[in-house]
């Protein structure tokens, strides 16, 4: 049985970038204009915390040394958070900057889509693992 790993350059870099960007925003005491304009204050706080937390927890999940399914679960939860945070940011960018932010919106939205995509992949892998475990074998025949 084969499970796709999250240790790809894209995923690791994006988790690290989320954590670094969130921490840098905290350190600088500033926020993107689109976020300030499009989100209520409390949501801005949650969004910024979510960036840092999903980045760090995502890296933790990707490099999890214990049970494989636990690592995948941690990674998936972080991906859901990162997908939401980037989705929120993309919506804010579109709402505030309109066509002036086509390139940033494209990249930010791509990160969101990729996060949900990967989360769905993990759900699929976990389902297959659960099936294989209840069948009593994880060997070979499971081709998907």
């Amino acid at each position: 049985m084969i499970v796709a790993t999250g240790r790809s350059p894209f995923e690791v870099t994006l988790f690290a970038a989320a954590a670094v960007a969130g921490a840098a925003l905290f350190a600088a005491g500033t926020r993107p204009r689109s976020v300030v304009e499009a989100m209520p204050a409390i949501v801005q706080d949650v969004w910024q915390v979510a960036l840092v937390v999903t980045g760090l927890v995502g890296l933790l999940g990707v490099y999890w040394r214990g049970e494989l399914s636990t690592g995948l679960g941690v990674e998936m939860a972080s991906l859901a958070g990162l997908g939401s945070a980037t989705g929120m940011y993309a919506i804010a960018l579109v709402a505030v900057s309109r066509s002036g932010a086509i390139a940033p919106v494209a990249f930010v939205a791509a990160v969101g889509v990729a996060s949900w995509w990967r989360a769905a992949q993990i759900v699929r892998d976990l389902r297959r693992m659960a099936r294989a475990c209840s069948a009593g074998t994880t060997g070979g025949s499971d081709s998907d």
């Binding site: 499970v3 949501v43 998936m76 989705g87 294989a132």
Partner: protein
Amino acid sequence: MWVIAAPAPAGGAPAWVQVLVLVVGALGGLGGVGAAATVFAQRRKLRADAADVLTDTALELVEPLRARIRELEAEVSAARQSARTATEEMESVQAVAREVTATLRAWRAAILSPTATLDGLRHMVAADPGLGDLPSGRTG
């Protein structure tokens, strides 16, 4: 005159944008928490034998080794077969050598016997069935 752009007030975007952002955030947050809770609750069910679950990275490393093992297994099988054939041939040759030695000893004893006669020896050699088994046709 200078026109100074005032910083946009918080919540300056339309209300539906804020609602959309909230909905996306809530969906993701709930989804993440729900997923983590599900995995945590089903940990025992998911406890796969780690040796049987390979990540695709590991598989990439393992695949060339698997191919090499298959090659070596085929080579070992061929070598075993050839060793078995060689052993069988050697045993057969040893058996023939033993037989020939025994025949030569018997002839030598007969030739050196004080009562040996040419006719008797001819008789004995012609009647000896042992040489009939020899592979070469040079016995005639």
